[in-house]
Subunit: 305 residues, 2 copies
């Protein structure tokens, strides 16, 4: 009998839960605001476990039909030990043994993972990454991160910190970054930076990226030009990772990827011009498919492997 999995995606804004079926389908969803419970790790953990219980009761899923739960968090996670090392944007999370706590509370196996790796697992098995043995799954949003699938396996690195594509420097001199470095890719294409760039480009301090997206949809030349410039920046940032890893595909998700169709030509053009021939000819640039469900669906993959 094929079993269900509870997928949990902890974000800075919302915690999303989903009941994921054997085919990667999300049979039911539930979410709540992170901020209401983020005072301490204990409170958030309790809220998550209660929400998981509510989801199961609501869907009338017996425990015997559950393989377990998988939870993705925005930070450094020791996947082997189920310990959350640090969450940069949710206070108080330092070396929290979340896996054990949740297993005790829920009475089922619980796997803990970095959120971007969870998305990568989801896209890789059930989304845009299906069939690729070697790929980069990048999220373009407030932060810029990536999960890596190499030789057909997720690659986490010995410190579970691999995939930090947003912190590949694009220049030897460049703007300081929250990571402690400078000139990082993220400092050029993170949501806030693009927001600022758009304000300058359009001479309107209040313009939002969503508005620029809609202008592009309407075919406005200046908006198309803006996204083309962003695509070129993204392409420039991908040259290094693509030259090193020679991936079959770069999957692009995250909020900014809503404008994927306007970014893609410039990304491809920049890679063709600047990356090495074999790498540039081989790599496909693809929009992520699972949107906000990717991190939930990833739990399915995590609990099977």
């Amino acid at each position: 009998m094929k079993k269900y999995v509870i997928g949990i995606d902890v974000g800075g804004t919302n915690v999303r839960l989903g009941l994921v079926g054997p085919a990667g389908n999300v049979a039911a969803r539930l979410s709540f605001s992170t901020q209401n419970f983020s005072a301490t790790p204990e409170k958030l953990t309790t809220a998550i476990c209660e929400a998981a219980g509510a989801l199961l009761r609501q869907e009338r899923v017996p425990r015997t039909r559950l393989a377990g739960a998988g939870i993705g968090l925005p930070g450094l996670v020791d996947v082997n030990k189920g310990i959350v090392r640090i969450l940069p944007n949710i206070p108080g999370w330092k070396d929290v043994p979340l896996g054990k706590t949740m297993e005790k509370s829920l009475g089922m196996p619980v796997r803990v993972e970095n959120d971007v790796n969870m998305i990568t697992l989801g896209e890789s098995k059930f989304g845009a990454g299906k069939g690729f043995r070697d790929m980069i799954c990048m999220t373009l949003g407030t932060g810029v991160g990536a999960g890596l699938v190499l030789n057909g396996e997720i690659y986490r690195g010995p410190g579970f910190a691999a995939g930090e594509i947003g912190h590949v420097p694009l220049n030897e001199e460049g703007p300081e970054c929250g990571c402690g470095g400078w000139g990082c890719f993220e400092r050029y294409v993170g949501h806030q930076q693009l927001q600022k760039a758009a304000a300058g480009f359009f001479g309107k301090p209040e313009i939002s990226l969503e508005q620029v997206y809609h202008k592009a949809v309407e075919g406005k030349k200046k908006a198309l030009k803006f996204w083309d410039m962003v695509g070129e920046k993204v392409g420039n940032g991908l040259v290094g990772p693509v030259n090193i890893l020679n991936p079959e595909a770069v999957i692009i998700g995250g909020g900014v990827s809503r404008s994927f169709v306007f970014l893609e030509p410039a990304i491809v053009r920049t890679l063709r011009r600047r990356a090495m021939r074999t790498q540039a000819e081989m790599v496909r640039i693809i929009k992520a498919q699972l949107d906000d469900d990717a991190g939930i669906i990833g739990a399915r993959v995590l609990l099977q492997s």
Copy 2:
């Protein structure tokens, strides 16, 4: 009965052959000048097979005690098919089925590999990389390349082109590179560029890197300062790869690594300043151990796996 392997390292200057014992020891060596036979792929292949035969006769190794031969070449190699796709610096090599030709000629299994991957295999099993599950093995010489060991396995990429660390851009605007891109790491720390930099730094057009090395050994401040500057450049080039891959170690070999002891402090310092905390704290910067034998010894690993 443990068997021997013939390791062959094809360079632009010399072809080196070695008889490699079960413990990665090189029992005998033989080499010849590449240029004398580089007119066509056929001539070079024949010369290599004859040299292999001579090595076996000289050492009186019966065929029954040989597991096969492994050959590393400076270019793009389809390892699965044993086909040399292209050698940028040796003319005429385009889609050459070297593996099959050599197997027929030598009457034993032959594995074909990229030279830097071969070095990586050697260092990883018998050299400075022993015991590391995730590492970058970089060669700093005329070119700057790397082999990657990830999740305990060599990572070649789907087009066998992974590891091109020398072509990670360090700046958005930068000197043009032979790869078609610009601002590449190699354009800052390749042997020729360092030669030029040394000439400028010391105001002596004829000074060699070897001389600058000896000056540093003698404790001359200006020479130490030069290698410190080079180390900082190398460190800057490693920030991106280290942030993406979170390796346990970066092994540094190649001609320029002779000055490793003078480069290392600046590399480590730069990574601590600029790379992400987990990555910087974890990564060890280590000198390669096997020198010119690494590519030969790598054949041992290739034929066992």
